[in-house]
Amino acid sequence: MPPIDSAPEKLNFAYVRRPGLWKIMFTNLGMGIITLTVWHFWGKTNVRKHIWSCIHINDEPLEYTGKGGELFRGFLLVFVIFILPLLLLTAFLGFYLGPQNPAISGLNFLFAIAGYLLGGFALYKARNYQLSRTNWRGIRGNMAGSAGLYSLTYFGNILAKWFSFGWATPVMNVVMSEQMIGDMRFGDSAFKFKGRAGPLYPTYALCWFLTLFVVIGGIGLFSYEVINWFGTGLSDAFDHLFKDKEGVKPTVEEFKLIGIFMLGLVGLIMCYVLIIPALWAIYSAKEMRTLANYTRFDGAQFKLNATAASVIWLAVGNLLIIVLAIAMAAILLFGIGFLAAWMGLDKSTAVAILIGIMVLVIYQGVWALTRPIIIQRNISFVFKRLTLDGAVDLNRIRQSIAARPTRGEGLADAFDLGAW
């Protein structure tokens, strides 16, 4: 081997948008409907190819080399060895013991536990597949550790977070990142992750107590207002509404009261939906910055300039995109409904057709037209804010010798772990 001339380079990250994503999205929508969603795997691959190619490191784009067929085979394998036997077993027991037998609930509980156990396995395998299909300067990545070990950590993480009312979150997220990021390789070079969860706790505590305050305060305020404004009139109104067997119907006034109450309730829920995630954005931003800081590659240290405001904006934007897509799907659906009614279709036939179309259009439309945009937003969020302090000696990095997996992500797909 010739001597290696060492020439460390500073690495710059960028997300360079290029046209073509909408074309892929509409192709995916059309093909998804034509193929009754089987296109999903190829569609996902095309989206990844596009988004990967927008991620530039020192002006050289990433390249996604995965194939739809690999994902499809991964899905088939999981379906045949995992989902189908599970379905058939449940069905068999349903016939054998009767559908209401408590043993069935027990079995479903066991399946849920198995699902949580396999969740980490699936995430790890999906990451390995994606890295093995990601090329930069002709070098691919891989995961060097054990998916089984990670699945145990992942399961422990679920239990720990659950039993500690969330307080284990910073520790567990650091532990999981240490395993996941520490196992990541680019060629023969390792990512290193080292750091403590301690610095995350002040922010975590702030968000946790603020959430508690908002929840209790909100409920208290709401109850106070309900009692003060509506008094016993409201409970009478509800009695008249739900116990109309006695022949007492609610009056117009009572209907108004119920209406105002419901509006207040919706308002309260909306506040929760917006305020609580916004609060947690403070922690998310802190965690992203900290975890990036703990990550090193070839001695260089990552930095992620994520602020709470930017995380909120990212989340709100993503939410709006989904809401908009669902609203459009609903409008389309009503249109189909009216059309069916206008054509005078028999009720049950119309309902069957509607449900079929609804499932396809909503599933396809909402997913095919929102998910790629959301992924692009998330990835571009990271790569626009990511920097690497220090230089990397790229000339020394050799190709990965790890075997490339031949199938991908079947389990992650089955659990819908969003492994894009």
Binding site: V38, W39, L87, T90, G94, R137
Partner: protein
């Protein structure tokens, strides 16, 4: 024409400057730290479609990890114009593959659907062990009745047995059944797995004679004889498997969710026709006037399928009175007893009054 380009050999991340040339059959390149390499143009593969002003990325089938990045637009244009396979995107072979997979997939799904929804249910329904059918049926009956009172009276029970016996006179191979009447203010009657037939107080109240109830009962026995409830359960399982193919997941606990089962377990039109045929045959053979069933159908049809409390699981179940366009055709098929056959009452007047009062 020689242009400069960037080469990554797929073995290290080193950025290599090379000079590239092409002669129509081969693409050759070399550099200070890159030995002279010749790639056949036929074996080249474009990573992306060429875009003016953008780097054009090539690889070769013999070295799939390597990347050659050319930035000279004129060179790219010349190369691509002579070799259409370098235009990137889908080749005709790719498109053929995609269509092959799609059509193959759809055929496979259709075949699976046919097996799971049409072929298997009837077959499996007939081989399910008796104990299983009974267990499932009991649980379904309990879930459907939603805690309603089971109507009992010594005279009423005796009348019900007498009616079944009268039906069995002409149909000796009548399947094993149990008939329960519940104190439910919804007009319905249905059969669940294990030969369990369930009727409501309301159906007795709406009937103007025993022959009407005998007709309804004969229809439900028809469902039992053809194992329609069991077949529907198998079909539901098939639906779940198909559903999970499309969503790529375990589609929830459909087969263990009674409320869901109630909404989808309506029998098909063919099943209703089979049960009707069985009822007509049984009534004629037992010399019970089939016009009772017809009268009841007509009455119910006018009432638009029962009414009552639509929110209960019981009324969601289609049962005998699901109104669809077939109802009138079904009624037309019911004919009086053949000439010369003397109709026998399905119950005496006394028995009928006892049955009507069974829920009191």
């Amino acid at each position: 024409m020689v242009v400069s380009a960037t080469y990554f050999d797929g073995e290290s991340a080193r950025n290599r400057s090379v000079d590239v040339n092409e002669d129509g059959t081969n693409l050759t390149f070399s550099g200070t730290d890159t030995p002279y390499t010749s790639w056949s143009i036929k074996g080249l593969h474009a990573i992306d479609a060429p875009t003016p002003g953008q780097p054009y990325r090539l690889t070769h089938e013999d070295k799939s990890g390597a990347r050659l990045i050319i930035r000279d637009d004129v060179f790219i244009k010349t190369l691509v114009s002579r070799s259409s396979h370098l235009k990137g995107g889908y080749s005709s072979r790719d498109i053929a593959h995609i269509f092959g997979w799609t059509i193959g997939g759809l055929v496979a799904v259709a075949a699976l659907g046919y097996v799971a929804m049409v072929l298997l249910p009837d077959k499996v329904a007939h081989i399910l062990p008796e104990t299983w059918r009974n267990r499932v049926g009991s649980q379904m009956e309990a879930a459907m009745a939603e805690g309603a009172k089971l109507c009992h009276s010594p005279a009423g029970d005796a009348a019900l047995s007498a009616m079944i016996t009268n039906l069995a006179l002409g149909q000796p191979d009548l399947p094993a059944i149990s008939v329960h009447i519940y104190d439910i203010p919804v007009l319905n009657a249905f059969a669940v797995s294990g030969g369990k037939i369930i009727m409501t107080r309301e159906i007795l109240a709406k009937a103007d004679g025993p022959d009407e109830i005998a007709g309804v009962l004969a229809h439900e026995i028809g469902h039992v004889a053809h194992r329609h409830p069991e077949a529907q359960l198998v079909r539901l399982t098939g639906m779940q498997v198909l559903g999970s193919v499309f969503t790529g997941s375990n589609g929830g606990d459909m087969t263990t969710n009674i409320a869901f089962m109630a909404t989808v377990l309506r029998f098909t039109r063919e099943a209703e026709a089979e049960a009707d045929a069985y009822a007509r045959d049984t009534l004629v053979k037992s010399s019970i006037d089939p016009m009772g069933l017809k009268r009841f159908f007509e009455k119910i049809n006018k009432l638009e399928g029962g009414g009552g409390d639509k929110s209960s699981a019981f009324s969601k179940l289609g049962g005998i009175f699901s109104t669809h366009p077939g109802t009138e055709d079904r009624m037309k098929l019911i004919e009086p007893l053949p000439a010369g056959v003397v109709a026998k009452p399905s119950l005496t007047n006394e028995q009928w009054l006892a049955l009507k009062d069974i829920c009191k």
